[in-house]
């Protein structure tokens, strides 16, 4: 019985950590390049979830194959990232690069407030639940526990794919070098002929898409309620800070730590599940003030 509890906690933590990772890595990417902590990131996560759920309902209503739900997830994530994220960057963020951090934080906070209302206006306040992905894939039996394959395989797999491809793109491709160069020194890169404005826009869209993708995956496993974005932004902040802001592999480790810590708490001391992520962050920052994977004096993406 004990083993099963531990296993269940580990599986929950893995699946949850993978979702948080997607959101946190988007946040880290945006911070690493644009130097902005995007408070509205949580709203993008929530909107990604709602758009996916809407697509899911539409697919069901139109009588199409329910398997289309999966491509719909990726599609909605990209749409939200490109349309909402793009609009945000072009209309607002672009005007405040390099300004005081207080103003940047507050601007994105204002966007968060507006998006939160918009969300309620479009999707209402009643919980949304589209469980097509869960029921399509069924469950697997591990050591006597039935666990949904969606949460066991699909969600973590997507996270791993994102992690590996982000790493590969940033380290080994021309695009990645350009992004790293712009992150390091925007002015010099611009002087060398890099279109830094476009790099910023694309990075923000990518980061926003990742948040929306996290939401899209969440929509397959949990019910969507107003306020879900607010909870997630704080959690992904905690992950990004634990990892060291702007550190991508770090975000994966921290997301896993926090996901596992939280799900273990759910089974052992359910009153404290919401506290655990912050305690982990607190303890880490106590010993490593800039986060687990911080590198002194350098800026890395």
């Amino acid at each position: 019985m004990f083993i099963q509890t531990v296993l269940l906690a580990a599986l929950d933590g893995l699946s949850y950590g993978a979702q948080v990772f997607l959101v946190a890595v988007g946040l880290s990417l945006i911070f690493g390049v644009l130097r902005i902590v995007n408070v509205a990131h949580g709203s993008l996560y929530a909107i990604g979830a709602y758009v996916t759920a809407t697509f899911g309902l539409f697919i069901a209503a139109a009588g199409w194959s329910p398997w289309l739900t999966f491509p719909a997830m990726a599609l909605s994530a990209c749409l939200v990232g490109i349309i909402v994220g793009g609009a945000l960057e072009v209309s607002l963020l672009r005007r405040i690069y390099g300004q005081e951090q207080v103003l940047q934080l507050l601007l994105t906070f204002a966007v968060f407030m507006i998006l939160e209302d918009l969300q309620k206006a479009v999707w209402g306040v009643t919980p949304f639940f589209v469980n097509t992905p869960l029921s399509l894939l069924g469950t697997a039996n591990i050591l006597g526990i039935n666990y949904s394959i969606y949460q066991l395989v699909v969600v973590p797999l997507v996270a791993v794919i994102v992690l590996v491809s982000l790493r590969y793109i940033l380290r080994h491709t021309r695009i990645g070098r350009i992004v790293t160069a712009v992150a390091d020194d925007r002015e010099t890169s611009a002087a060398m002929g890099v279109d830094a404005t476009r790099v910023y826009l694309l990075t923000f869209m990518t980061g926003a898409s990742l948040a929306a993708f996290g939401g899209a995956l969440a929509s397959g496993a949990t019910s969507l309620v107003p306020g879900m974005g607010a909870g997630m932004i704080i959690l992904s902040f905690a992950v990004a800070a634990t990892a060291g802001l702007g550190r991508i592999e770090g975000a994966a480790v921290a997301a896993l730590m926090i996901g596992l810590g939280r799900s273990i708490a759910v089974y052992i001391a359910p009153e404290f599940d919401a506290v655990v992520p912050y305690l982990i962050m607190f303890v880490v920052l106590l010993f490593k003030p800039k986060g687990l994977f911080s590198v002194p004096q350098t800026r890395k993406v």
């Binding site: 405040i96 905690a238 800070a241």
Partner: protein, 312 residues
């Protein structure tokens, strides 16, 4: 300092008349002034270039202290409850401060945020102690030994709050003008130089942090008494964000601005809620964006590191 003092006195005198002329605004103004105290705390930290996205923690600490004391049936007077609320918040801030003041900028904001979220979760989860998400009711205490009816109590609480804020505004402006307060600007502008002068910037920040928490605690205590109810939302990060928002709205870095901002905010909130119940957040968000993008002069008090100076 002189003109500010004069404006402050005129404003306070004008406000003192308001409940007589328009009694229905008394509660709204009391809340606005009390919130202004927390915002004043944010303003103190802004002098050092730091923002706390978690001052809801100290606000809630003051409020819940009052709630616990009242529910413990000790029959304490409001004149005792309010300072005790401030004191508890200060003690928490002094303890947490040892950790918090080692951080700057984003990390400072986020450490505060995470601490307030821990408080928020605990307040919500430990329902047998704190009443959980429903919060706790706070019975109306005596004021200066007298048990007032509702209307009279509201009027007297307004005057008490006005007096408290006036005193706090005066003391904080004295503090900001003192060498210790001036050192805060040095934390923002050039910490290394401050350290070379033999002043510990962490200590300077620690004191400012305790002062700002004391203000937030008093503010929360007043709100608990006026509202007659406390809830975990007090420690929620969106609430803390509102405090920062108000400080910018009021022309950040300015003692009187804190109160002007919070009165404007409370009015917007009340009337926006009446006109467009579901969209008052949007209205606030849009006004915040407008301030940041189009009224940079209104933010002239915010002189942070990044500001580029013209070459001499």
């Amino acid at each position: 300092m002189r003109p500010e003092l004069l404006i402050g006195m005129v404003a306070a005198a004008a406000l003192a008349m308001v409940p007589v002329l328009a009694p229905w605004t008394a509660v709204m103004l009391t809340i606005a002034l009390a919130v202004g105290l927390t915002v004043l705390g944010i303003v103190v930290l802004l002098r050092a270039g730091q923002i706390s996205f978690g001052h809801g923690l100290y606000y809630a600490a003051g409020a819940y202290t009052v709630a616990f004391l009242v529910n413990a049936r000790l029959s304490l007077d409001a004149l005792i409850l309010i300072p005790v609320g401030g004191l508890v918040a200060t003690l928490i801030a002094v303890a947490c401060g040892f950790f918090v003041v080692r951080y700057r900028d984003i990390f400072f904001a986020m450490i505060n945020l995470s601490m307030s979220m821990v408080a928020f979760s605990l307040l919500e989860k430990l329902y047998h102690i704190t009443g959980g998400g429903d919060g706790m009711n706070v019975a109306r205490p005596t004021l200066a030994g007298v048990r007032f009816g509702r209307i009279a109590f509201e009027a007297w609480m307004f005057h008490l709050t006005l007096a408290t804020t006036a005193l706090a505004a005066f003391l904080v402006s004295r503090y900001l003008a003192s060498p210790l307060g001036k050192a805060l600007e040095a934390v923002k502008n050039n910490e290394t130089r401050l350290e070379y002068l033999g002043v510990s910037s962490n200590r300077v920040l620690h004191i400012a942090y305790a002062i700002s928490a004391a203000l937030a605690g008093v503010s929360g205590a007043i709100i608990a008494i006026v509202n007659g109810h406390v809830s975990p939302e007090f420690a929620y990060w969106v609430r803390s964000g509102e405090f920062v928002f108000i400080s910018i709205l009021g022309g950040a870095g300015n003692v009187l601005g804190a109160f002007a901002g919070s009165v404007v905010f409370e009015v917007i909130r009340n009337y926006a809620a009446a006109f467009a119940a579901d969209y008052w957040q949007t209205i606030l968000g849009l006004s915040l964006i407008a301030i940041i993008l189009f009224a940079p002069d209104g933010l002239s008090q915010l002189r942070f590191r990044r500001k580029k100076r013209a070459p001499p």
